[in-house]
Symmetry: C2
């Protein structure tokens, strides 16, 4: 099973700073990825690293992205360039009694690897999985890609074999001698989510709000 | 004024995909940076790009980060390695009538450059600016870094001379021939913010909630 998530926590995947925040099991890595919507993809242009945000989704042991066949990033990645994909969810500020122990609560995943192009035969199913992940039931309602749109869209996937999660949660960890300081300490939680849908101003009035959008905003 | 933000939209800074979403003026770039809390820093380890999330703040024409003097990232960046810093704020899903025109609303900044170490004489003021940005008034209340903590903390800054913003907002842009399709179209807004503070369970009851935390959660 060379593709199993977290199967290969090699040297470069091992968390070095604050190692007790590191996780290498598939369940933890998948849970972080499945809670996010935007990843940051790192690739190189000569010795210049480039970091581009893009939508992603996970299916099994792979992380998927899509984009234009004309995109520099997509072309570079499709060519097998070494990549790093990072997903970060901010959960709060950690306010300690000392400046030094201030921190953030967060969940992140860093995955190293190379992307491969998803073949034409599997591309439509991959795009369907992407739409269904965000809005379950929507794929059947919308117009499918026509031949030209299909050709213009590239789907890439990277195996999650070299991935790690890093998570901090909970209150500050102050030094014992600071615990009596008269300063408020604790967490300032940070949360993100969907708000009620905004219909397109050009939409006709007879189209009801689909059930999956009612569900999305009550999460 | 070699340091003016957006002064040098060179070839690598120019937005290539959907160029009408690109912005190069300081006001737009600063506004995106000032609305975020976590950036993604790209640097290289040989031909392997590495993307690490970290807290950041902006002062004038520079983006600042801090970290341990033992961190690989901080050491690499302090050595003047080419870097790319990206900040992304997700504002919503854009649900079009066709699969192809689905999109996301977002604000992002990509900045290229090299970091430089902030000298010891300026380091404490920089850390103060960081804390004050998040929680105005808190620096005077907390214990300042002692000599050992001060030495263990590195502050780096990168000039924002090669930066661009990319912004998408508003409803979907469907093809004219799809406008009559009977499918809900519009935006599913996405928002992030602070929730009410959680006191440290070890905190004594006589410490009131500071005003800057009441303000933070009512933003």
């Amino acid at each position: 099973m060379p593709d199993r998530t977290g199967a290969a926590p090699r040297q470069r995947t091992r968390i070095k700073r604050v190692p007790d925040r590191g996780h290498y099991d598939a369940a933890t890595i998948h849970a972080v990825l499945d809670a996010g919507y935007v990843c940051h993809v790192g690739f190189g242009d000569g010795d210049q690293p480039i970091v581009i945000p893009t939508a992603y989704w996970r299916e099994g042991e792979h992380l998927y992205i899509h984009g234009s066949t004309k995109s520099r990033m997509m072309m570079t990645l499709a060519g097998g360039a070494p990549a790093c994909v990072t997903v970060t969810l901010l959960d709060g500020l950690v306010l300690a009694r000392s400046a030094f122990h201030h921190s953030m609560n967060y969940r992140s995943v860093v995955a190293f690897g190379r992307f491969e192009a998803v073949a034409d035969e599997a591309k439509l199913a991959a795009l369907e999985a992407f739409v269904e992940r965000l809005t379950p039931g929507r794929w059947a309602e919308i117009r499918s890609p026509n031949k030209q749109e299909f050709k213009a869209t590239m789907v890439l996937r990277m195996p999650l074999t070299e991935a790690s999660a890093k998570i901090r949660r909970g209150p500050p960890k102050d030094d014992a001698e600071d615990m009596a300081l008269h300063v408020w300490a604790g967490e300032l939680p940070f949360a993100a989510g969907f708000l009620p849908p905004l219909p397109d101003p050009q939409q006709t009035a007879d189209i009801p709000l689909p059930g999956y959008l009612r569900a999305a905003t009550s999460r």
